[in-house]
């Protein structure tokens, strides 16, 4: 994927991050796509593969504030949003912002939190604001959530329902690093220190500007029609119980636009869409039976639609 990136600012970020996140280029790119598409990212992976490192590194490189929530089943909504504390000196309640009020928020093991906390989090993600004691606080911009979830541990967890998963623009997995990269990691040891010393390459304003620019990317009707065909087929397919929502369609177009910009174009081609679909679509559909993986079903649907031109 990295060889397709042509936007030099993005390339600079990637090469910069690569130094301390060996073998995670794809994850870096996808996270960046998610950030610049103004969406949130769900990483489903095993512990110890560098999810936290990725989040920290991103916040440093983009010069954004970073918050981290470690979910447990006794975590309360106020633990993440923050709460009002009585100040003895002023005699007033003072708002102590929670970790959610940062630009980049890492929500570790989101499926361990209770549904109550989960929905508070997801609401904040959707509305970009939190309400504490009847007072509404705007979340900072840009606001980006990286949630992680452990696919193996089921015991004592509250898996997110598909309707909640729909709120995440993309779902990725980092995967094990290649042998070379892993060897390098082992040689150097944990590089958390290095992460905190990373230089910023972009600042907030630049990010927001770039986000705006991405929204202007030209998307031909030919491709929109093609995406709509795809969405409709997922709704009609006999193997699929729940097809794609309109929000899913929006997510497809946004990510495709961002990817197109990353690749140095100001218009979208079908390949942009195709390459984003595996990260945008699977977590939003429910299969009737589990004979096939979601990826297989999706790719078989794609093969039935003629791609323009």
């Amino acid at each position: 994927m990295i060889e397709k990136i042509k936007n030099h600012k993005i390339l600079q970020i990637i090469t910069h991050l690569r130094e301390c996140l060996q073998g995670k280029e794809t994850a870096i790119i996808l996270s960046l796509i998610s950030i610049f598409s103004r969406g949130h990212l769900l990483i489903e992976d095993f512990p110890g593969l560098g999810k936290t490192s990725l989040a920290i590194a991103l916040s440093k490189v983009l010069n954004l504030s970073f918050g981290r929530i470690q979910c447990t089943n006794d975590l309360l909504p106020t633990d993440i949003t923050g709460l009002s504390v009585y100040n003895k000196n002023s005699g007033e309640f003072e708002f102590k912002p929670g970790p959610l009020l940062n630009n980049i928020v890492l929500v570790d093991e989101i499926n361990r939190a209770t549904p109550k906390t989960q929905s508070a989090l997801l609401e904040a993600m959707a509305e970009e604001q939190v309400t504490v004691d009847g007072k509404t606080y705007k979340l900072p911009k840009p606001f980006f959530v990286i949630a992680t979830q452990n696919p193996i541990e089921i015991y004592g967890t509250f898996p997110l329902p598909e309707s909640q998963l729909d709120r995440f623009m993309m779902k990725i997995s980092i995967g094990y690093p290649p042998k070379e990269a892993e060897k390098e990691i082992l040689q150097q040891g944990s590089s958390r220190e290095k992460l905190y010393k990373l230089n910023a390459i972009m600042d907030k304003d630049e990010i927001i500007r770039f986000q705006e620019e991405i929204r202007q990317t030209y998307l031909s009707d030919k491709i929109i029609d093609w995406i709509l065909d795809f969405i409709n087929l997922t709704r009609q397919d006999s193997r699929i119980l729940l097809g794609l929502s309109t929000r899913a369609g929006i997510a497809i177009t946004y990510t495709a636009k961002t990817y197109a910009r990353f690749r140095g174009r100001d218009y979208v081609i079908p390949e942009d869409v195709k390459e984003m679909i595996p990260f945008v679509v699977p977590h939003r559909i429910i299969l009737k039976e589990n004979f096939m993986s979601k990826e297989e079903v999706i790719s078989s649907i794609l093969k039935n639609i003629p791609t323009p031109p």
């Binding site: 030209y218 030919k222 218009y267 081609i269 390949e271 639609i305 791609t307 031109p309």
Partner: protein
Amino acid sequence: MHLQSITLNKVKDYIFFLSILIAAISFTSIFPHISPYVNFLFVLILIFSIFLHLKNVFLPEWVLNIISIILIVFPFLGLSSNDILMPSIESLTLILSVRFLGKKTSREYFQIYLLSMLLLGGSSLFDISWMFLIRLILMLILTIFAMLLLTYVKEVGNDFIGLERLLNLMNFAIFIAIVSIPLSAFFFIILPRTPVPLVDIGLSKAKTGFSSTVNLGSIREIEEDNNIVMRVKMKQIPEKELYWRVITFDTFDGRVWQKKLFEMSKSSIYGEKISYTIILEPLTEKYLPTLDYPVSVSTKNLIYEYPGTYKIAFSLEKTMKYDAVSFINYKLTESNPSSIYLKIPPNITEKIKTLTNNITSQASNKKEIAESIIRFLSNYQYSLKDLPVGENSIEEFLFNKKKGNCEYFATAMVLMLRIKDIPARVVGGFRGGTYNSFGGYYIIRASDAHLWVEAWIDGQWLRFDPSGKISRKTENIVFYFIDYIWNSIVLDYDIRSQLRLVKSIKIPKFEFNIKLFLIPFLVLVLYGSFKFYRYMKKTREPLNRFFSIMKKYGFERRGYQGLEEFVSMISDKNLREKAENFVKLYEEIYFKDKKINKEDYKKLKVLLDILNESRKS
């Protein structure tokens, strides 16, 4: 898939046979006019060249050149120097055929097309009929098609050509040909024309003609023949004086008119003198038509035949030209006509005699007798169909059918005059003619053939035309119509004849009028839809070519594959880059919903050429 693409060799075969066809079309226009040896040789060489083509063997260029030079010189040997055209056309024909023997690049093919066109043009020197137009259109379409194919092959090189594209080229060729026809019509109006075929040469096949006997009903064949018999260069004279005298008949046996009287009899003539030049096609056997009544004809081997007809010693084989002088509004006096002019065939029944007496009972002198006969016959219908036949066809004509052509009218009148003791004879020839004021000549066709009557009254031979005033009905046959249009617009072009044409369309042939409007309308609609199709095609065309090139590399795009996805399958880095260059440019136009402009089109083409070229090297 096999149907979809045609290999280069196939295309070369197509071009070769297309060229054979083109040469054959021009050959059909020329072959009746040139010597049979040349015809035979032409066909032989053509067949040999097909054989060579199939065997893929070609004669070297220098051999062809030597043969060509020999062929240029050969027809000129042994022929008189004043007849240059015929050998030229013959050698042209042979050179055309020889061109097929060599190795053929587009240069040779273009030579073939040029020679074919020249040959077709040459054929117009012998014969201009509407068939020329058909041949011309056919040749235009085929030649343009062949040239497009050649250019295509040259452009694309070692490329496959789709059946669809082949048909496309064909459509385009037809389109160009059809569009070019109105253009040539425009040139036709502004460019000067020669009024007559340039040279009066040509061996024409024998056609229906005059002979020294006339069977009743035989003139009919001539009257249905629209061939031009002669062109007469002269000033325009009143329509009623346009009688072209060819032959006279004196003896009737009830069925056949013959000429038996040959002795000269003393006669004198005076009138208005007219001199003119006749260009005669070989249709009238030995007889030379002249304007009634001729006084002199100047040509070699001339024989004068009483009364007032001329012939030559040998049968006419090619067009001839002669000057003549005639009198119109003449007075022809003769003292004592032969008694042969009073002979009545034995099978003339009393019925006819009684009828004659009834008709002429009121007449007091000979002239009134003739006039009353004319009056009586004018109630009869002129017709070319369903003519009276049989032993007593005249009786059948007079009493039953009451319709016939000029033969019946003239015969009936002569017989009636003879019954009333007035010497009379039948004159055969032509009546009328179309005057071409642009070229200053009359065109007389076989269909103008006519018989009329001369009667000796008060010492003078007077002309009577019993069927002359009765209008002839023309048959509504498409053939005649096309011929008429061709003759009126192309051959007799002048503004008056065009006006006449417009008038003639309006009254009797209204249904043609609608069709005439329909054709341009259809052409317009076709043109419009073709344009639209081209436009739709144009945006996809570079892509189609891209796919066809990639197919030759062994990469076939599937419907679900995006272009870049498709290109990324290519393992050869060099090739992939070239393909990517094209795909990127095309995508930028296509997915930005831009219209493909000329510059983009060119750029895309260059990229495709690069892509294609790397395959060759």
